[in-house]
């Protein structure tokens, strides 16, 4: 119960930051960070996949309602929550991290960066494809995915570094 309340509070803060601040950024005309996925990245390793997806859906839908993109952020977040355990196990073995949530401290710097980068890239790829597919400009899409992912990753690492 207490964990749920804390997580809900974190979610509201992340959604507010996303809606009022980050959505208005468009660095070099192509980089918009989607920091809210930090909540999904930081879920405990033994969190049940169903619960993780429901949280991700709720958060994605909130971001969607605030940015007039119904369904897009929700779809990308649910996908991220679904594949996250697989991505995590690519870089972090079950022995080294049994409980708790992945972070710079618990998984080591290299593994965490690889995990966060892969997850961010997957999420942003689906998000940008759903958002901008009609634009019909493959180079522009790839640039937007790469630039936005780099921006998000930088923000995530910054926060992680402060928490360490």
């Amino acid at each position: 119960m207490r964990d749920n309340i804390i997580r809900a509070a974190k979610m509201l803060v992340l959604v507010a930051v996303q809606a009022f601040l980050l959505n208005n950024l468009n660095l070099f005309g192509c980089a918009t960070p989607y920091l809210y996925i930090y909540l999904i990245l930081c879920m405990e390793v033994d969190e049940s996949p169903s619960k993780a997806m429901l949280w991700a859906f709720a958060m994605g839908l909130l971001v969607d309602i605030f940015s007039n993109t119904p369904g897009i952020n929700a779809a990308a977040s649910v996908m991220l929550a679904f594949v996250r355990p697989v991505v995590l196990r690519l870089y972090v073995s079950r022995e080294s991290l049994e409980h708790g949530s992945p972070s710079l401290r618990t998984t080591g710097v290299g593994a965490f960066i690889k995990y966060a980068a892969t997850a961010t890239l997957l999420h942003h790829t689906l998000l940008v494809l759903l958002c901008y597919f009609d634009m019909g400009d493959p180079a522009g899409l790839v640039l937007r995915i790469a630039a936005s992912s780099a921006f998000t990753l930088a923000l995530i690492l910054m926060i992680e570094n402060l928490r360490r």
Binding site: L54, I65, T69, M135, D137
Partner: protein, 278 residues
């Protein structure tokens, strides 16, 4: 049967994944295909109110520039007004005899949320049905046309920004009178494209683009932008014109909703025409 239940129990998160994704895509396609419910947008009451708070802070910070722009625009209009008055006088007519166009009225509104970096951008304003704002009304900033209202809740409304792939505004070149549709297909937030202008039309960089008044949404002659460059479409039949929008879509604050008193009549006529053709 037991196997199916065991299978579902083991892979229930797969099922949940598929259901949640289906719901997301349903929301996405229903919204994009046509006006969905206002509830899942920033024009719903709770979200609109929160954006209202945030924007009142932003407005305060941007007051000085907004004031300067309004002052400039006001001065321009005063000069224009004087010039027209002299022209009317020189024609030997009484300016008072020219009756004003009363078919359009306006409602002042404040932009509470707006984006320019998506492919389908929307503008949320703080006026809704209770203030007489409804779908298919035009949205105009002090500097020019910015969008068309697509749905309204009781106290907020959502407008399709000019920067939306579904936006289409009937415009004309003020000098030559050739008309076409203003569209946007992503990219620069200061530039939109004027399509369907015939190839033989004479177009110059710097020509003014205004609304044509052919639809019931905008009256004729509202400022849209100026021609920044022009070329021909791939099939060579029409011109493709880049229009630099006169209003900076990234800095919208106070806008006016344009209501056409005769919109219902207009729609009825075109509907009956459609029925007649069938």
């Amino acid at each position: 049967m037991r196997n199916i239940i065991a299978f579902l129990a083991r892979y229930n998160h797969w099922l949940l994944f598929i259901i949640l994704e289906l719901v997301s895509f349903w929301l996405l396609f229903r919204f994009n295909s046509y006006q969905g419910s206002v509830f899942f947008t920033s024009a719903n009451r709770a979200v609109g109110t929160v954006y209202g708070w945030v924007s009142s802070v932003n407005d305060y910070l941007g007051l000085r520039t907004a004031n300067e722009i309004l002052f400039d625009r006001n001065l321009e209009l005063v000069v224009e007004n004087e010039r027209l008055r002299t022209v009317i006088d020189s024609l030997g007519m009484d300016a008072g005899a020219v009756s004003p166009d009363t078919s359009f009225t306006t409602v002042a509104a404040k932009v509470v949320n707006n984006s320019v970096n998506l492919l389908d951008n929307y503008i949320t304003i703080d006026k809704g049905r209770a203030d007489g704002v409804d779908a298919d009304m035009g949205l105009v900033s002090p500097l020019g046309v910015v969008g068309i209202v697509c749905m309204a809740s009781s106290h907020h409304a959502l407008a399709i920004s000019l920067l939306n792939s579904n936006s289409s505004v009937s415009c004309k070149l003020e000098r030559s009178g050739y008309f076409g549709n203003l569209k946007w297909s992503g990219g620069d937030s200061r530039t939109a494209q004027l399509m369907d202008i015939p190839r033989h039309a004479e177009v110059h960089v710097g020509d003014t683009v205004v609304t044509s008044g052919y639809s019931s949404v905008f009256p004729e002659g509202l400022m849209v932008g100026v021609v920044s460059s022009h070329g021909f479409s791939p099939d060579g039949l029409t011109c493709e014109i880049d229009v630099r929008l006169s209003s900076d879509m990234a800095k919208l604050n106070m806008v006016r909703v344009v209501k056409n008193k005769h919109a219902a009549e207009h729609v009825m006529l075109s509907d009956s025409l459609k029925r007649h053709r069938q």
